[in-house]
Amino acid sequence: MPEFQRLIRQPWTLGVLGILTVLVLWWTITAIGSVNKLFLPSPEAVWQVGQQQWTSGLLLKDAIASVKRVFIGFAMSAGLALPIGIVMGSNQVVCRLLEPLMALIRYMPAPAFIPLLIIYFGLDELPKVMLIFIGTFFFNTLMIMDAVKFVPRELVETALTLGGRTLPILTRVVAQFIAPQVLDTYRINMASAWNLVIVAELVAANEGLGKRISLAQRFLRTDEIFMGLIVIGLIGLAIDLGFRALMRRACAWAN
């Protein structure tokens, strides 16, 4: 059994096994026919719906619409959170000024802003992008601020005694040191961005993976709902793995 043991020790083996088990269980239950198809469509049915939507181009269009919203909203959030988080983490005055405000807004559930966003920005792309921004910006900023507070004092002070000034020290010492934590922060908050885009699309959208799911509900197409959920999960997983790969490459020194 040494080969089997080696296989088990592979980091991916057990994970794949877990997923396969659920798939087999799902297939068995639907094959026996003990559950109404309306509630639990078979894997084949879901696969077929997926193929249909893929060949018609619908799936790709929806996925692109959702991904685009997430990326625009999250890019704004991440891009703004980085400088603000760094300044908050390194300057006590700014920190004391902004931290209570941000901590307060952070606890307001982002989906509760949807009605307001629709009143302000209508039903176009802007309210959805803004929702993702609101839902991730404060978390991103506060987590980056925390990372900055853990930069060893010696690294900054060495730069000072080498003739460094504030701005170069922030960009070349502080920003470099926190890069791994920043990427990890983005990776974690990206998951909320995905949750939010689906919520926004459930409320109001013409296309997108969330929209497809809410349409499917109207026609009791549980197979389409299942397909949508699985695609959302897969895209999220791909983004997560992408961030991990980026971190391994860009922050090799921290591993």
């Binding site: 010696e154 005694t161 080498l162």
Partner: protein
């Protein structure tokens, strides 16, 4: 170059919670000298170093370099810390170049000086390695090279070998002594290790805690042609023993 520390005192906090950590500290360092401050923890020796580096301000007294009062950190006072001395994301050569880049020197000069100073500390081969791929002693040598490359008037060494094993410490002491002889650098060393101070420094100031102050200053005039020999020579050991007794007598935990 003349670094002058005159009647410097330092207290942290305000009012009744204020704590005096330094009282009336005075000494000076001239070009080419190697001076050491020795004391136990709490003697305020690191505070003295931070004040000289400009990282903190004295509560009283003055610190001046060539007649100009120190008002903040600057590249004329290069510092080497005990931990986190290198930027972990930069290679050895990039670490050495870092200070010169901060000073805005031109790129060719930076490249030449980086390899020159890595050579000076004997690490030309390690130029492309990351700090985590270097031993503790090598890391400190790179940190010293980086400080020197920025052309400081005085090199401030804050327990630079404090985190190293005893054997590596000894070889680093030899290295630093050799470097001092070769380059004629000016250095102020902080250490709790009396032997280290006596081996390297021509002038040793002994500090006592609560509040931190200089209680004794000695000029060390010993034959330093071989440190290994000096370590076990009679005059060295006698001097060390005498000063060690002085240090023990100062520690309230040992006398009480």
């Amino acid at each position: 170059m003349h670094l002058q520390i005159a009647n410097v005192g330092k207290s942290f906090g305000y009012g009744s919670s204020s704590k005096e950590v330094l009282r009336n500290v005075s000494f000076h360092v001239r070009s080419g000298e190697f001076v050491a401050l020795v004391g136990s923890s709490g003697s305020g020796k690191s505070t003295v170093m931070r004040l000289i580096a400009g990282l903190d301000r004295p509560s009283s007294g003055t610190i001046s370099i060539d007649g100009h009062a120190v008002s903040g950190p600057g590249s004329d006072r290069g510092m080497v810390f005990q931990k986190y001395s290198l930027y972990p994301w930069l290679t050895a050569a990039q670490n050495v170049a870092f200070g010169m880049e901060m000073q805005g020197r031109d790129r060719r000069e930076i490249r030449e000086r980086s390899s020159y100073f890595l050579e000076v500390v004997g690490l030309a081969d390690a130029a492309r390695r990351l700090p985590r791929e270097l031993s503790g002693g090598m890391q400190q040598r790179v940190a010293i090279a980086r400080a020197l490359a920025a052309e400081p008037k005085v090199l401030l060494l804050d327990e630079p070998f404090g985190a190293l094993d005893i054997q590596i410490r000894e070889s680093m002491q030899e290295f630093l002594h050799d470097l001092w002889k070769r380059t004629g650098l000016t250095a102020l060393l902080i250490t709790h290790d009396l032997e280290e101070a006596l081996l390297l420094a021509g002038q040793v100031h002994i500090m006592a805690p609560y509040p931190g102050r200089i209680v004794r200053s000695v000029t060390v005039e010993l034959d330093r042609s071989s440190l290994a020999h000096l370590r076990v020579s009679r005059p060295f050991l006698e001097m060390r023993e005498e000063l060690a007794q002085c240090l023990r007598g100062l520690d309230p935990a040992l006398t009480a």
